[in-house]
């Protein structure tokens, strides 16, 4: 995952109307979208809301001027665990439906239910919308801007400092990870090579992990000592300048929040009336 760090940060450094928005606005807007999607009960109303949200996301993505391939790549990266749960839904009944209709019988007494397919689609839509919101947020906001935004919104200074340090050194360890991989490859070591004894592979990986652990600990010690030399103490924290929101930020925030609240409520009320 650390390899993607550089790739994601590169996209975040591009310029567009979405990139230029204040980080606070983007964090709150995307959180509102996610919470609205998660809070929606597991009913077919999710389809309508999900599709409207996805259309909204697509507009924002187009405004960010990022290629759709970036989105597809990042989506593929986080799919596996969620997709595993979603795919197997179709073979099981669940508590959200009263009656289940079998649409296919498979060997070993396995059935595929129409309602379960619907439920799986609901889960998939919820999952994809929430992940898309996060992808948009991180692809258009630099990590440090996100941290400053969170700090301005009241993230405790201890956390802001800790996250700041972590973000700073993520890139250092990203390079270290690359170098370690290169040196392993130079020694013709491949953890996936089944010709090598398994114990030997685990041992090598264990030693590599131990090395990274020690190196990060030593890096931490060095950082701590150098920070002490520069006057770091108990009351030190990241200095975050105040930054008022611009008119465009306010507009985007109001539109997003109003959209996240009104769309599900309107669709929910319409669907309930129809049923």
């Amino acid at each position: 995952m650390i390899e993607e760090l550089f790739y994601i940060e590169k996209t975040a450094y591009k310029d567009s109307i979405i990139h230029r928005l204040d980080a606070r606005v983007k964090i709150v807007s995307m959180l509102a979208l996610i919470i609205a999607m998660v809070a929606l009960p597991y009913t077919p109303a999710v389809f309508a809301v999900g599709l409207v949200f996805f259309a909204f996301f697509a507009i924002l993505w187009a405004l960010s001027m990022l290629p759709p391939l970036v989105y597809a790549k990042r989506l593929l990266m986080v799919l596996p665990f969620g997709l595993f749960i979603i795919l197997f839904q179709i073979f099981f009944t669940n508590r959200y439906y009263g009656v289940f209709h079998v649409i296919a019988n498979l060997p070993f007494g396995i059935h595929i239910y129409a309602e379960s397919i619907e439920f799986a689609a609901i889960l998939l839509l919820k999952f994809v919308i929430c992940v898309s919101a996060i992808i948009l947020l991180s692809s258009t906001t630099k990590l440090h801007d996100m941290l400053e935004g969170a700090g301005r919104m009241g993230l405790p200074p201890e956390f802001a400092l800790t996250f700041g340090m972590m973000i700073r050194y993520l890139f250092v360890f990203g390079y270290m990870y690359r170098k370690i991989n290169e040196s392993l490859a130079t020694r013709c070591f491949d953890p996936f090579n089944s010709a090598l004894p398994y114990r030997y592979r685990i041992k090598q990986l264990g030693y590599t992990v131990g090395t990274i652990f020690i190196r990060s600990y030593q890096q931490g010690e060095r950082v701590y000592t150098s920070m002490l030399c520069r006057g770091y103490g108990r009351d030190s924290h990241i200095f975050i300048v105040k930054k008022p929101l611009r008119a465009i930020d306010w507009t985007f925030l109001v539109i997003c929040c109003a959209f996240s609240i009104t769309v599900p409520i309107t669709i929910w009320l319409t669907t309930v009336r129809l049923y």
């Binding site: 995952m1 994601i8 998660v38 749960i85 929430c130 990986l205 090395t211 920070m227």
Partner: protein, 333 residues
């Protein structure tokens, strides 16, 4: 094991977040007290290191597709053991999980509470205390670290399956079996890597490994814990094969009183038994009923293995509960 958004109803997600926040607050208190506030940057840099460690992938020891399925290390047990406190793992894993959730979309924002509980809290606490107990009893750091690593991955995966079952998004039996088997196999990587990494760290930097002072380690207590878990698990595995399928004394008396069963035989008249239950409900006015999550100590759809799994799960839940309560009570004094 990173649960995404949308797999928990919002109410359950909030409950997990509240529990996680309690542990995050406790881990912050630990960082301030044990490491002194100034050393917090050290943990932050270490968290970046753990993030890099999680990227190292390796083929599974048992795989149907050779080299096709991979696993990586979570590192909760390693962090807890090296830094000498389970709160270290909670602190570090929280940082890592927040970054993974907000930046990579790996694990949801609303589901982050559950992810922190599973991987940080359970992984750290189980890893740390298993290592300490096994090491005190057997005096073998390597074995202790291996078992601790394995348990720190396996139990959280079981808990993850239960959480998803409670949310109604994954059937319990299926979740326990698939998640349990997959993580039992990946656990070998976690355990092996934890053991080898720890032995390297102990040799290269013995000063950074958190050591327990002799006064604080109580060998008898640890021996009792290890023996207790071993006996309980042995009973859990063999009990279903020796358990009687017939009703117990109380059931039998009740059924006999309503003529659903003869006192001297084991045969039950099912229709009369149902009538007896409704008669009692009518007489007492108590119509309360509850569907147990694991009815009759079994998992629906699984025969004997289901019973074994249900009892193992019950034993572990009780162990965690009992251990937590006893720690809480002893801390009061």
């Amino acid at each position: 094991m990173h649960i995404p958004d949308g797999f928990f109803p919002i109410s359950q997600a909030i409950v997990y977040w509240i529990i996680a926040l309690v542990f995050i607050a406790l881990s912050l208190r630990w960082a301030k007290r044990e490491m002194s506030e100034e050393k917090v940057p050290l943990v932050a840099v270490l968290a970046a290191g753990i993030f890099a460690i999680q990227t190292l992938n390796m083929a599974l020891p048992i795989s149907v597709i050779p080299g096709g399925v991979s696993g990586h290390v979570v590192g909760a047990a390693l962090a807890a053991i090296v830094l000498g406190s389970p709160f270290a793992a909670v602190f570090i894993l929280t940082l890592v999980l927040v970054l993974q959730g907000i930046f990579f979309g790996d694990g949801g924002i609303t589901a982050m509470g559950a992810n922190i509980i599973n991987m940080g809290v359970l992984g750290g606490f189980l890893g740390f205390y298993t290592y300490r107990s096994v090491n005190t009893v057997f005096r073998n750091r390597f074995c202790a670290a291996f078992i601790a690593g394995w348990i720190s991955l396996f139990i959280p995966s079981i808990v993850c399956a239960v959480e998803l079952a409670v949310a109604g998004t994954l059937p319990l039996a299926f979740g326990l079996v698939t998640m349990g088997v997959y993580h039992a196999v990946i656990g070998i990587i976690e355990g092996g890597v934890t053991a080898f990494a720890l032995s390297l760290i102990i040799h290269a930097r013995p000063d950074i490994v958190g050591s327990e002072s002799p006064a604080r380690t109580n060998k008898t207590k640890d021996m009792v814990i290890v023996a207790g878990i071993a006996i309980a698990l042995a009973i859990a595995i063999f009990a279903p094969y020796y358990a009687s399928i017939y009703p117990d004394g109380l059931d039998s008396t009740f059924l006999s009183a309503y003529g659903a069963k003869d006192t001297t035989t084991v045969h039950i008249n099912e229709s009369k038994a149902v009538l007896a239950e409704s008669a009692v409900a009518e007489k007492t006015g108590n119509t309360f009923s509850w569907d147990a999550p694991l009815p009759d100590y079994t998992l629906p759809g699984l025969e004997k293995p289901g019973e074994v799994l249900a009892i193992i799960f019950g034993v572990l839940v009780l162990f965690i509960l009992g251990f937590g309560i006893s720690r809480f009570i002893t801390r009061q004094h």
